[in-house]
């Protein structure tokens, strides 16, 4: 046990005008100076600045300090900064404690006197606690030089390519039969109207051929454990019933399959696919899958096997079973994207009721050269529409559905307006709440589409109905209010497109649970810091990219993917990580051998030493959750930096 007498330095930060004057920092420093063991107490304008840190370093040397307390912002912000300052002056970084008097006092307390009183309590608690701090040991462990990317949309593909180009092995896991995500469904992309396939196919091909990328399509991550630098992932490989090594991708099986009337998910149910299928012609990988739920042989046990008969490569294998793979990686990038809002519950728009009401993703397919109409914008009866309505914000900015703005819908609606005008010459009526076009070249695109003669109406659509006012003018009527003119509108149209919002991907909660990522109220994954750590998560070594973090366009998605890959490869390049110091240990002299800690440990990090009849913590597995410490009836288990004396000292000081 450490018997040195604490010599504590306390530093109260003004944080410019953020803490002072709301908290009387001079009074707090004066108060701190009178606390037991405090040798020096000061206040300073910016403790985190270089001169602020030097103040601490100089005092440590001049006053022979062995403990330091900084009262400033949240430790989540600057704990690392001040720990380093202590270390520079030769003090253990663990002999340090922060009092958060900004987020917890000055910013949240209306009354200045009460803010100051609260700040004093928090400082007293930190001072009393730090007296019980001691230097802690850490180790350097090696980082596994590979990355797991979950989700093969444009975010996952780009992150995989960037990390693979840096020289690291990448496992790219996609649950669908092929990679590409939503972007693979588009024909054109705003604001430049680039052909989506032209810019995406090169990326999917690289991902498919890169020597450092192992594509794991039709796979799902079912388990993840471990810690930064050493994650173990369990991956479920669903049976394709087609041998990937033998298949040449000739497509004969798909032509010959007698089961042809299965709604195609990739085509947004606008057309059908056979039971053995590949989602789209340029799919990577091109190996098809057999949909076991609809295959005559696999689902209905009928005699069929037509695909096998025609397969010259002998690649069909009806006996494939689900397999599990185990991989070890140093970092994980989560890129599970979004799913489109299903407008069926908004019955006023008639989706599912009227055949000429489409979702935006359906329109993307209708407009796509490889889609059901070979890119011609046609109604179900084969006619070219003469009047088209586009309804923005379907589901979005709506308290009953998605309270937020989905960010891309105004822009893709403008894209649709342009495409309908260009391809059909039809009249386009676009109904918006507010036009949102913040982005490079976005406002310009908006102006261009406006100049193309699109009717932009500010107002929410009340209803879409098949009650037609004038026979022959269109098969649907859009009822809306123009909020700029205050007039009500009954507009006959041939086709309605619903610009649905974005919501987290199906199964996102499961991914969040497995990776320890938290989600916000809407289900999007939360980044470590909204501004300064946009692709990091609270768990070291786990990063985010793309729409899984919130709705965004392709440029932002790609930028985030590159950032996530940069963060992951920086970790891998460093080669080692320092183990966490804040882990549990069990005092063998106090342990009674009751084993209750073994039962509560979520990581199986405690084993029982039969020889000594005591429980022992495996420090490579312990994450420092403290379940054992809270359970141990003999108080033998304790988490470093959160032991009973330290926590109780804090409580004591607050209540003193």
């Amino acid at each position: 046990m450490n018997r040195e007498i604490p010599r504590i330095g306390v530093y109260v930060c003004h944080c410019g005008m953020n803490i002072a004057p709301q908290v009387d920092v001079e009074q707090v420093a004066g108060f701190a100076g009178r606390l037991e063991h405090v040798v020096v107490a000061r206040d300073y304008k910016f403790m985190c600045s270089n001169p602020g840190q030097e103040l601490i370093e100089d005092d440590i040397k001049a006053h022979n300090l062995n403990r330091v307390v900084v009262a400033s912002c949240s430790p989540r912000m600057h704990e690392a900064t001040f720990r380093k300052a202590c270390q520079k002056a030769g003090l253990s970084p663990y002999n340090f404690q922060m009092a958060n008097i900004r987020e917890q006092a000055s910013w949240v307390t209306a009354d200045s006197g009460r803010a100051t009183a609260k700040a004093k309590d928090l400082v007293a608690a930190a001072v009393r606690r730090v007296a019980f701090h001691h230097p802690l040991q850490t180790r350097q462990v090696e980082v596994n030089k590979s990355v797991l990317v979950i989700g093969g949309g444009i975010a996952g593909i780009q992150a995989a390519i960037s990390a693979a180009d840096a020289g690291y092995k990448v496992y790219l896991v996609e649950r669908e039969p092929s990679i590409g995500g939503h972007m693979a469904k588009f024909d054109k992309t705003f604001p430049t109207l680039d052909c989506a396939a032209c810019i995406m196919t090169p990326k999917t091909v690289i991902a498919g051929q890169h020597e450092n990328i192992e594509l794991l399509t039709y796979c799902e991550v079912v388990g993840l454990e471990g810690f930064v630098g050493n994650y173990k992932a369990r991956i479920l490989k669903k049976p394709r019933y087609v041998d990937e090594d033998k298949c040449t991708g000739c497509g004969t099986c798909m032509e010959k399959c007698p089961t042809r009337k299965i709604p195609s998910g990739f085509e947004e149910n606008l057309t059908f696919r056979p039971a053995i299928y590949s989602p789209f012609p340029q799919a990577v990988p091109k190996t098809p899958v057999i949909d076991a739920d609809n295959c005559r042989l696999l689902a209905k046990n009928k005699r069929c096997g037509v695909c096998a008969k025609f397969c010259e490569a002998d690649a069909i294998d009806f006996n494939q079973e689900p397999r599990h793979l185990e991989i070890t990686v140093g970092a994980v990038i989560v890129a599970t994207g979004f799913s489109a809002f299903d407008p069926s519950p908004m019955v006023q728009y008639g989706y599912g009721l009227y055949p000429e009401v489409y979702t935006s993703l359906q329109f993307e397919r209708l407009n796509n050269a490889t889609g059901p109409t070979a890119g011609r914008i046609l109604m179900k009866d084969g006619r070219v529409p003469r009047k088209v309505a586009i309804i923005h914000c379907v589901g979005s900015r709506d308290k009953n559905h998605l309270p937020y703005c989905s960010r891309v819908c105004c822009m893709y609606s403008l894209k649709f307006s342009h495409l309908v005008r260009e391809k059909t010459g039809a009249e386009v009526w676009s109904f918006y709440i507010d036009m949102r076009s913040p982005g490079k070249l976005y406002e310009e695109f908006y102006n261009r589409v406006q100049a193309e003669g699109v009717h932009l109406v500010r107002g929410k659509v009340a209803m879409v109905t098949d009650i037609v006012d004038q026979p022959g003018s269109g098969n649907l009527t859009v009822v809306a209010e123009n909020t700029l003119t205050g007039r009500n509108l009954r507009l006959p149209v041939d086709m309605v497109i619903l610009s649905v919002g974005l919501q987290p991907a199906r199964g996102a909660e499961e991914v969040a649970r497995m990776t320890g990522i938290s989600t916000d109220g809407d289900g999007w994954f939360t980044e470590l810091h909204a501004k300064l750590a946009p692709v990091n998560t609270p768990t070291a070594g786990i990063f985010l990219a793309g729409c899984c973090q919130g709705p965004k366009d392709i440029p932002d998605t790609v930028a985030q993917a590159m950032a996530a890959a940069g963060q992951a490869t920086a970790l891998l390049a460093k080669g080692t990580v320092e183990t966490q110091a804040e882990i549990s240990s069990i005092d063998p002299d106090t342990c009674s051998g009751c084993r209750s800690c073994l039962e509560v440990c979520p990581y199986n990090a405690i084993y029982f030493d039969e020889g000594r009849r005591v429980a022992v913590v495996n420090d490579a597995l312990c994450q420092g959750c403290g379940s054992c410490a809270a359970t141990c009836p003999s108080s033998a288990a304790a988490v470093a930096q959160f032991n009973d004396r330290q926590v109780m000292a804090e409580i004591d000081a607050i209540l003193a």
Partner: protein, 141 residues
């Protein structure tokens, strides 16, 4: 109810969720009563029953415990273990003569700054209604 009574409340909160929510409440400049003092822990699962009892015996008027929503615990299920443990404290508190309403456990996620401020306001209100920790009045007597 004594209008001048300003309770002192100890909040034992998880670093990953409620502490972060408190930071967010701060960043968003949400105002809530200054009666609560946060003690940061890594997980509600490390909260020993004796911390709670000690806080009450030393005069805390209320103890607030804030953890991650079920399923969100950074350490798998520390929050559920905490819930189980905290439930068992209720009866102990009653034996000591404390109203079990002085202790509460709430789930507040990292992005729930406004919820954090609301919980603080409500809990301070509850404790004000319950009055000072009986230990303190006994000592004065």
């Amino acid at each position: 109810m004594d209008a001048s009574f300003e309770p002192k409340i100890i909040a034992l909160v998880c670093n990953w969720c409620t502490y972060t929510a408190a930071d967010l409440a701060g960043t968003s400049r949400l105002k809530y009563p200054a009666n609560v003092r946060l003690v940061r822990l890594m997980c509600t699962g490390m909260i020993d029953v004796k911390y709670v009892i000690k806080a009450f015996l030393e005069g805390a008027d209320g103890v607030f415990i804030g953890g991650c929503h079920p399923g969100d615990c950074h350490y798998i299920n520390g929050n559920l273990k905490a819930r189980k443990r905290i439930r068992s404290v209720g009866s102990i508190l009653e034996n000591f003569g404390f109203d079990p309403g002085r202790l509460t456990l709430q789930w507040i996620g990292a992005s729930e700054g406004p919820e954090f401020a609301r919980h603080m306001t409500e809990f301070v209100d509850t404790i004000k209604k319950l009055g000072p920790n009986p230990i303190k009045t006994r000592m004065i007597l």
